[in-house]
């Protein structure tokens, strides 16, 4: 309910929103949980296993109970913390993990079976009959489990990622963080102050305190105004630092537009930041911890600090009559604040025998709450055990609990730092130097007074800056609350009934004890066996207490028992934020050739290769791919075809040692190549297997242009640079990619020379361009290059002009080809032509192939040292046991073979033991009709002429085929020599 005149947001606009279909009113900008509380809504969520009704427990992102689904349609977002989601006009939220409604959930029947659903019960049953797991048990378990539901539709909202840089990253803008930012900002350092909240201030906004003699929130406002005026300080609100990574890199999630009623369409919903900081101050505060007692999960049981947040910031309370239960002075603080706000405080129950009193509030010292009883809507009565052992029961609808504070050490664990147990505050504190360059300050380091936090923040900033060689003037630390932290550790209250530790995952004290009894005594075993700490809050509210219970159950101390590791992210991060930019086509750059638009205009389906798009075929009329492929291949064999080959990698190799360098990186020799000539090259990896192949042209004594396959261009370039810098650093070799500079087109077929004759300035004198020659040409005065090479088996050329002319050149070539009875051809025809010729691609040189396998073994063994030579000479990389490149032709004419089929001897059963090889490439053949294939066959070179069976279980085919030379068409090469 809302308290009239209370809350710092009392002047906020009133807006309408909906929860589970009910229209409600709230104040714009307040957390959904506050608005629901104001309206008397107590049940906001359901627990994971038992579907227990749950109310809000905290006032922060650590909330384990009040998880809701926000929005509807494709963009609906499950598992949103009602404590974080801000109310805006038109906000729609829904309870989740419940049917039909969070307020009345049929699945709550699970709670009745709780005795048999204890820790790890599922490991002991559901095993019979075997097939029932996938069919019966698992689907039922899966349906019952889970929390919210995804929409199942593509994400419709924009998300983004960004980078930021600073000298000092301050994580958290409570008293410590603000002082750190002020100190560093005044010293001129570049500061990023990141705070999870809507407004910076941390607990200062939630407590009735003074700083520097003024209300704490006024001091915050003054500090923020000073920071805002500093150009070197960037204050990032709604921004949670989620992870600490190496060398001062931090991840952070910014909630950009989820609080707006109608955000601009370009505005991202969230932004995931990668912050590079020279130093960081962790000022993440502390989280108040609950105490386990029977029924402590009922709606109305809340953390005391959360209750004060709702009271002071938002002016709402969950009920009219409260009991406060604690073991430290926050019990008094809470009772005092509640009473001052006019809430009836039925009792203050303090486990400390020497607890201070609060005037006007009945105080029970040395007492504990043993249980919270009530109905579906939550707490109605609270049971106490007094110091003298008497039991008492009080009517109350609200129970505020403070079990003390756990420093928010999480980020200090992200680089494997293990927090250290501090007996004095009965809590884990960060280990020294856990994250290089990051200094924890204030409550996250176990300093709990406001004054102490202010001092620690200032000190941490000064130290960080001193590390960077910067002097920061000593800041004047304002006067503030400076009470000692007086705590009597209390984790769980003995008693009947279930006492929750992990609220979300329904892990109780009994579960932890059962785990210990079954010898899951390691904290990791306990966690994994009970699922303690594995829920959406990742144990923020429960890990330490569970550890304490385990320690108790196993007779060890807490530090002996250990702790679990907190891992990134600190708060859950949407996949859309961290993967922003990739949805649709953004996952990788798109590379277009200069002929792309023209190919599309001709109706070519485009296929992707090494990020490039290449035309598959150029259909005419209603041709399918095969018809188009056959026509285009015939066109090349009979007339002339034009294909864009610009995607092949092209590398300029220059320098006095260029030839020597190529001799070293290729399995064959280039130093003997004459200028103006081109040679095929085979490149090995150092492991002796084939890496890539391509042609290399020599343009001058010290100048080569080497080509790579499209897919391997980047890999080859990196490899060559490695060899150049790492293995022959004293050689004069200079490498640069020229792939992008040139638009290069294959012009292939018996009429290719005729076509080029009309194009090239001065015509084409064929006798000056023998097979495997190269040189400069001009076209309309534009300087280009011509190569007499062939991947089709026909007389062929490749002509290259600077890329700006590529689009025009393609049109010109295509038009000329068409006039000669030819035209453009695509990847399918290119493939068909090369299969007839036994030319290999990465279908054959797939990484496991040796030079021996493809019949080029002698090339390697005859050479002096080159990359891969030694490893290629290993016994296992050659010999009759190897599968060797062969061609296949079907026995039955026209039979369709398939790539991926395995090869068996005739009559052999198609099982692994009889496997002889496989088919790599199949294409229509215009030379022979039907289909031709390439593949690998054990000892294949010795088996030409043999009939084998190609078995493709997946496509249901068995094709008898004869083993051929890989080069099935024009083996003498007369056609390409023209």
């Amino acid at each position: 309910m809302r308290l009239a005149g209370k809350g710092r947001n009392r002047d906020a606009e009133e807006v309408r929103f909906r929860f589970d279909g009910r229209e409600l009113r709230g104040r714009a900008g307040e957390p959904l949980a506050a608005a629901l509380m104001a309206q008397g809504v107590r049940v906001m969520g359901r627990s994971f296993k038992y579907h227990r009704p749950r109310g809000v427990m905290t006032a922060g992102s650590e909330e384990p109970n009040a998880l809701v689904t926000v929005g509807r349609g494709a963009g609906r977002e499950p598992n949103v913390r009602a404590t974080v989601q801000e109310v805006h006009a038109g906000l729609e939220a829904f309870g989740q993990n419940a049917w039909p409604l969070v307020d009345f959930d049929v699945m709550a029947v699970n709670d009745l079976f709780a005795p048999v659903l204890g820790a790890g019960f599922y490991y002991k049953t559901f095993m019979w009959p075997r097939r029932f797991w996938e069919k019966v048990y698992e689907p039922a378990i899966r349906r019952a489990a889970g929390l919210g539901a995804l929409s199942g539709e593509h994400n419709p909202d924009p998300y983004e990622k960004a980078f930021a840089f600073c000298d000092l990253l301050v994580i958290g803008a409570g008293p410590a963080g603000l002082m750190a930012a002020l100190t560093a900002g005044r010293a001129g350092a570049e500061v990023i102050l990141a705070d999870e909240g809507v407004e910076p201030g941390g607990r200062l906004l939630s407590e009735d305190e003074t700083v520097a003699g003024q209300p704490a929130h006024v001091w915050v406002a003054t500090a923020l105004a000073e920071l805002a005026a500093m150009p070197n300080v960037r204050v990032m609100t709604r921004t949670t630092v989620t992870g600490a990574y190496d060398q001062g890199t931090y991840g952070a999630l910014e909630r950009v537009s989820g609080h707006l009623a109608s955000p601009a369409p370009e505005l991202p919903r969230e932004c995931f930041w990668r912050i590079s900081a020279k130093r960081a101050v962790l000022a993440a505060g502390a989280l108040e911890r609950p105490v386990a007692f029977a029924g402590n999960d009922r709606p109305g049981v809340m953390m005391a600090s959360a209750l004060r947040s709702y009271l002071h910031r938002w002016g709402v309370v969950p009920g009219r009559s409260a009991v406060v239960f604690g073991n430290n002075d926050d019990a008094q603080r809470t009772a005092r604040d509640l009473a001052a706000a006019g809430v009836h405080v039925a009792a203050m129950v303090d486990a400390r025998p020497d607890a201070p009193e609060v005037p006007g509030v009945p105080t029970h010292r040395g007492a504990v709450v043993t249980g919270a009883a009530g109905g579906r809507q939550g707490v109605e009565a609270v049971s106490l055990r007094l110091e003298d052992g008497r039991e008492e029961r009080l009517a109350a609808d609200t129970l505020a609990v403070s079990g003390g504070w756990n420093p928010t050490v999480h980020l200090t664990c992200h680089m494997n730092g293990r927090p250290v147990w501090n007996e004095e505050i009965a809590a884990f504190v960060p280990a020294e130097g856990a994250v290089p360059g990051l200094t924890p300050a204030g409550a996250c380091a176990g300093v709990f007074s406001t004054r102490g936090c202010l001092e620690a923040g200032a000190r941490a900033a000064r130290e960080a800056l001193a590390d960077l060689g910067r002097q920061a003037p000593a800041a004047e630390v304002p006067e503030a609350e400076d009470a000692p932290y007086r705590l009597r550790p209390l984790w769980a209250v003995e008693g009947k009934g279930r006492a929750w530790l992990d609220f979300q995952n329904d892990v109780t004290v009994k579960d932890v004890k059962l785990a210990a009894r079954e010898n899951y005594r390691s904290v990791e075993h306990m966690k994994r066996y009970t699922t303690q700490g594995m829920a959406p809050d990742q144990g923020k509210n429960s890990n330490v207490a569970a550890l304490a219970v385990l320690a108790d159950a196993t007779g060890r101390s807490i530090p002996e028992t250990g702790t679990t590791t907190f891992r990134p992210p600190y708060v859950p991060v949407s996949i859309a934020a961290m993967g922003a930019g990739a949805q649709g086509e953004g996952f990788a750059p798109v590379r277009h050739t200069t002929s792309h638009a023209a190919s599309r205009a001709r109706g070519a389906p485009m296929v992707e290769a090494g990020l490039w798009y290449r035309p598959s075929y150029f259909p005419q009329g209603d041709e399918d791919w095969e018809a188009a492929c056959r026509r285009e291949a015939r066109m090349v064999r009979a007339a002339v075809g034009v294909a864009d080959v610009s995607t092949l990698g092209k590398i300029d190799v220059q320098g006095a040692d260029a030839a020597r360098f190529l001799d070293f990186v290729y399995a064959n020799t280039f130093s003997t190549l004459k200028p103006g000539r081109v040679r095929y090259g085979l490149m090995l990896r150092e492991d002796g297997h084939v890496m890539d192949d391509g042609t290399t042209a020599r343009f001058g004594e010290d100048h080569f242009v080497t080509t790579t396959t499209t897919a391997a261009a980047g890999e080859v370039m990196a490899h060559l640079e490695w060899v150049r810098q790492g293995l022959c650093p004293a050689w004069d070799v200079r490498l640069i990619s020229v792939t992008e500079q040139w638009a290069q087109f294959a012009v292939a077929g018996p009429k290719s020379a005729e076509l080029l004759d009309g194009l090239i300035d001065g015509g084409l004198d064929k006798s000056a361009w023998p097979f495997m020659s190269c040189g400069p040409v001009t076209v309309q005065g534009i300087e280009g290059r011509l190569f007499r090479i062939s991947f089709s088996g026909e007389e062929g050329y490749e002509i290259a002009l600077p890329a700006r002319y590529g689009a025009a050149l393609f049109e010109e070539l295509a038009t000329r080809a068409e006039a000669l009875g030819g035209g453009p051809y695509g990847m399918e025809a290119l493939n068909a032509l090369r299969v007839e010729k036994g030319f290999i691609t990465h279908a054959e040189i797939h990484g496991r192939t040796t030079a021996f396998d493809i019949g080029m073994g002698r090339m390697v063994s005859a050479k002096t040292d080159c990359i891969g030579k030694a490893a290629a000479s290993r016994e296992g990389l050659s010999g009759p046991e190897r599968e060797q490149l062969v061609g296949f032709r079907p026995v039955e004419e026209g039979a369709a073979m398939s790539a991926g089929a395995h090869v068996f001897a005739e009559g052999a059963e198609a099982v692994r033991e009889n496997d002889q090889g496989y088919v790599t490439s199949v294409a229509p053949s215009v030379a022979f009709g039907g289909w031709l294939a390439l593949g690998f066959l054990r000892d294949g070179r010795a088996r030409h002429g043999e009939t084998v069976v190609l078995v493709d279980h997946l496509r249901g085919t068995r094709v008898r085929a004869t083993v051929q030379e890989p080069v099935q068409f024009d083996p003498e090469g007369g056609r390409l020599r023209g």
């Binding site: 019960f121 095993m127 593509h154 494997n416 859309a576 961290m578 798109v590 296929v607 290993r874 078995v951």
Partner: protein, 417 residues
């Protein structure tokens, strides 16, 4: 104690007081017939099969931390037999068969769920490569179905078929592929080994391997010296360090592989989906979390944690493939230390020191291998003969070049996988 639904109900109604420890915590004896270094999935399975298949029970498993604390406790739980190279093919096939009878055998529900695995492909060339793989699977006696685009759509209607960077051409469907509850596998084998009198010794780090005249005689540990005739090293993630205690240098580099889990969600993904082009794979756990991962971070590391570039890459792959998961929130990320061999395949072999046996190099595929690895390694340790399905996992294949198993085709040398 035998587990059953009836037992669970009976205990539930009587306060769950009758449950007993799943395994003992014995002190180490001074000598054993065999010592297994490493109480992860593979080590525990080895001990179990030594006892069960070979009757060798005077065995200690030495674990420096807690049982199942290695990669079996930090993986993405995928179980499959979809390899295609000789050696891998028969091994994983055998391992999958052991998975299929594991629960009955161990009387422990490891929630092995054969929900089907789909490997997507995005070009004709990839289709052919997957056809070759699928045919090898069928040749081996396993299951594989080639799906076209519409076939994939029927199984995975939520993928982005219209507007993704790498359009979906189809998928290789492996119906027997699936997932399991990873920790439970370790616990099940631990319980089974313990019941057969194997000593499982936690918090016992091996600090030295005793070798006399080329023969292993025992190990030094933080809990004293232990003599043994045979010592098995099953410590993926620390293989190089432990092998070094016996003077060995292994063909292994340690790398970090990250994995991620989201908050619990109602069922959204019913299969295991693998998007090789984006180095991304995903499934949904029975608790509702989306469990997914990607490629190695690609630098040698023992830190068991990764960095943002690869984490972001994995999320980006997820967003281009199945943008419906955008609003799922990553709850936790972690890293496992991978024993990377040059060719990406494991080693189950005798070491060059007599009495010393190596089980290592599982790269990022060790989880599904747990039963097969334990079975074959136990066979090798017990009989000194290679078990047929694992007979190709030789240490000397790199020296000879014979029988390299480079499934990815990226090269049989380091850092290409």
């Amino acid at each position: 104690m035998r587990f059953s639904g009836l037992k669970v109900i009976k205990e539930g109604l009587t306060g769950n007081r009758g449950w007993r420890p799943h395994w003992r915590d014995p002190d180490p004896k001074g000598a054993y017939d065999m010592v297994i270094i490493g109480g992860g999935g593979h080590g525990l399975a080895t001990a179990y099969y030594l006892a069960k298949e070979h009757g060798i029970t005077n065995v200690a498993v030495l674990e420096k931390g807690y049982l199942g604390g290695g990669n079996v406790g930090r993986n993405t739980t995928i179980v499959r037999a979809n390899y295609f190279l000789p050696g891998n093919s028969e091994f994983y096939s055998h391992s999958l068969k052991l998975w299929e009878s594991m629960e009955e055998e161990l009387n422990f529900n490891v929630m092995h769920s054969q929900r089907g695995l789909i490997n997507l492909f995005h070009s004709d060339g990839q289709r052919d490569a997957f056809a070759r793989r699928g045919n090898a699977m069928v040749n081996q006696g396993d299951d594989a179905i080639l799906l076209d685009r519409e076939g994939v759509r029927q199984h995975l209607p939520y993928l982005d078929f219209e507007n993704t960077r790498f359009p979906i051409y189809g998928g290789l469907y492996h119906p027997r592929g699936g997932t399991a509850r990873h920790d439970a596998v370790a616990w099940g084998y631990a319980r089974g080994a313990d019941a057969r009198d194997v000593d499982l010794i936690q918090n016992c780090a091996v600090t030295g391997i005793d070798v006399e005249q080329g023969r292993v005689t025992g190990v030094q540990t933080t809990r004293g010296a232990i003599r043994a005739k045979k010592v098995g090293v099953v410590v993926a993630g620390r293989s190089s360090q432990v092998a070094a205690m016996a003077g060995l240098r292994l063909p292994i580099e340690s790398h970090v592989l990250q994995a991620f889990v989201t908050e619990g969600l109602k069922p959204a993904i019913d299969h295991v989906v693998s998007f090789g082009m984006g180095h991304f794979y995903i499934s949904q756990s029975d608790k509702g979390g989306l469990v997914f991962g990607g490629d190695l971070d690609f630098y040698a590391s023992y830190a068991a944690r990764g960095n943002l570039p690869m984490a972001e890459h994995v999320m980006e792959a997820g967003m281009t493939l199945m943008p419906m998961i955008g609003k799922a929130k990553v709850l936790r990320s972690w890293g496992g230390i991978m024993d990377m061999t040059p060719d990406g395949s494991p080693i189950i072999d005798r070491a060059p020191v007599e009495g010393l046996y190596l089980n290592c190099g599982w790269c990022y595929g060790g989880f599904k291998a747990v039963p097969g690895s334990g079975f074959s390694f136990a066979h090798l340790m017990a009989t000194d003969r290679h078990h047929a399905p694992a007979a190709r996992y030789r240490l000397d294949r790199f020296a000879t070049g014979r029988g390299l198993m480079d499934e990815e085709g990226t090269g049989a040398q380091h850092n290409l996988h």
